[in-house]
Symmetry: C2
Subunit: 382 residues, 2 copies
């Protein structure tokens, strides 16, 4: 791994990271690369040693005099709230944050504890975080100093958070390359229910239908199924814990999905009863698909804001070493920047299709030049 | 567009193509490039002239003496059955096929007509087709001779189809570069309901939730949502017609989705009632996600069969012209074949992540060599 570029570091160490999995160890690596003192805690001695071995920090047990100024709780989602409360008590001078992907439960846990103990400093010193930097692997072995680079980092303060605590967490987000944005806990949880948690369950429900599918059906699978079902490969244990903590907002979205689903089933069953020769109108299909058109159009593209209107060039790619590389080399020679790229394959085939998104102003000459160089371009309607 | 490579052509022309949209015009282009005589019919004179202008064939009205030996019906899905029956009657010496994505309704229409007229030759001369070669644009303007190249082409004969008719349709599929496979109509329709029609509706239902989403939620959208909702951009009119013709099998799959959805909602609502601090066990989430894991693992990878176990290399790509090209050039220089590729972006960011799938045996040296050349590689657990 490579260190992040040198620049002024705003985080005042030492930093204690509790939980040395993917997120904790990546944070440690990144902070260490910037010269910040990092201490580590983990319930698992093995995990702790692994994180130490890759250079993510020093076990806190080996530094009994350490006085962390910032504590980052990066434990599994179902114990985060308890760990945050313990950290606030154990490190009474420190600002405490956590990196869990659901925030309301953690904030409530802190406020309850502050009320129970009558210690308002507990609440003042806590500010939540949600770095949007998951990946498909877990553990310190998958850690990387660049994990947070360029990713949104949601900062979740509450009414009693002190400005100093908010600043400390903003500094952390910025120091590891994250893009800080602020939201309150409920808004955050509803947002991630919509853009992350509900999509996860929808994808899993679809993929679950394939368990007993005949092999011949899977042979007809195309890119549409592959994309829609991709995140169904996510870790059930991790997600069960995440969803348990955000059950209300997710249930609300799923209830809205169920209303559409009921409507679709009623209309499709009626069409089936009329017989295949007179399927006729399936109003619910049209309605749901039109809403889907409008919804997907709102997802920001690569550069944020409204989706960019790139032109698309489709090129056939023979399945031989270097062919895709040759295409990109030649696009580079023509000075075309690739804004986005999708590769499509058919099962069993030795040819692929590259869909290259580029500046519409360059489409005509790029297409002509690639054809001149022998590429097979699939032309578009416009 | 480029002609397909020269090779012996098995299709005995002339071929009449009824319906000169994307599929019809692409077929015409491809057959013309191989020297086969192609005639065209279309209810829209404008569409017909466009297809003629791009070289897809000659309007049948201009060749009153033409005697087509093969008729391909490529009209919109809701009129295919009627068009096939008319074509069988109008061209009594011809084999007739169609390219609709639902087959049972068309077969039933032909068998009904054969029974009604007492003309068994109608049934003998009909064999259905489903070339799996859709795309997001429609019309002859988007046509391409390579549209079917390397794609599965399902051949759907029925008990009364003559062997000669089956051979003629196999020849057509092979001549345009398709990969022929055979299925009966009901099996075909259930397969596409599972791998294409149900995924379409599931993706649309998810994307429909975004219509009224706050902008800040969409700012947190990541690759998971983008992938799951991508096909929600499909054309509602076309899909309403397709789904009307396959309503029964699709309704059956959606009913199974609803059983899981009901279960998820019950468990999530119960967890929400227990409160965010003790979400506790959400058994349905775990069950559905585990089934999703098993289901998605059955989708064939690029080369067919079980998913290949490629190694994955994650590389940070600065958003500057030629950077992606430079990566592929350098992978080519190291002689690494890219088996698959996914680009990931965060909204508003000027850096992307390329996930390159490659031969596991090459992972170590490719990774080391790229780092030596200054690329930022994100290491994996293994």
């Amino acid at each position: 791994m490579t260190p992040t570029p040198a620049r002024p570091i705003a985080t005042a160490g030492p930093v204690l990271i509790i939980g040395s999995g993917l997120l904790g160890a990546s944070l440690g690596l990144c902070l260490r690369a910037s010269g910040v003192d990092v201490y580590l805690e983990d319930a698992s001695p093995t995990a702790l040693r692994l994180a130490q071995d890759i250079g993510a920090g020093t076990p806190l047990v080996d530094a009994p005099d350490a006085r962390p100024r910032l504590v980052v709780v990066a434990t599994p989602p179902d114990v985060v709230d308890a760990c945050v409360v313990r950290a606030l008590a154990a490190h009474p001078q420190a600002v405490v944050t956590d990196v869990a992907s659901v925030k309301d439960a953690v904030v409530e846990g802190v406020l309850d504890e502050a009320a129970r103990t009558g210690d308002a400093s507990l609440a003042r010193r806590y500010v939540g975080s949600h770095p949007m930097a998951g990946r498909e692997r877990s553990g310190a072995g998958a850690a990387d100093a660049d994990l947070f680079y360029g990713r949104p980092w949601v900062i979740v303060s509450h009414a009693q958070s002190s400005p100093e605590a908010v600043l400390a967490v903003r500094a952390l987000a910025g120091d590891v390359g994250g893009v800080a944005l602020e939201m309150d806990a409920r808004t955050h949880d509803r947002c991630v229910a919509l853009v992350s948690h509900a999509p996860q369950l929808v994808s899993s429900m679809l993929a679950a239908r394939l368990v007993d599918a005949p092999a011949e059906a899977l042979g007809l699978a195309g890119q549409g199924l592959r994309d829609t079902a991709r995140i169904a490969a996510s870790d059930p244990r991790l997600w069960t814990a995440i969803l348990a903590g955000n059950a209300g907002p997710v249930a609300e979205i799923l209830a809205a999905v169920r209303a559409d689903l009921d409507d679709l089933i009623v209309h499709l069953e009626a069409a089936a009863e009329r017989g295949p020769l007179r399927g006729g109108s399936v109003g619910a299909v049209n309605r749901v698909m039109e809403a889907g058109n409008r919804g997907v159009a709102r997802i920001p593209g690569k550069h944020g804001g409204a989706p960019s209107r790139y032109a698309e060039l489709e090129v056939l790619i023979p399945d031989a070493p270097g062919e895709l590389g040759r295409l990109f080399t030649e696009l580079g020679e023509i000075d075309v920047n690739i804004e986005d790229l999708v590769l499509e394959h058919s099962a069993g085939q030795s040819v692929g299709l590259a869909r290259v998104m580029l500046d519409p102003a360059r489409l005509g000459d790029a297409s002509a030049e690639l054809e001149r160089r022998g590429w097979r371009i699939i032309p578009h309607a416009g």
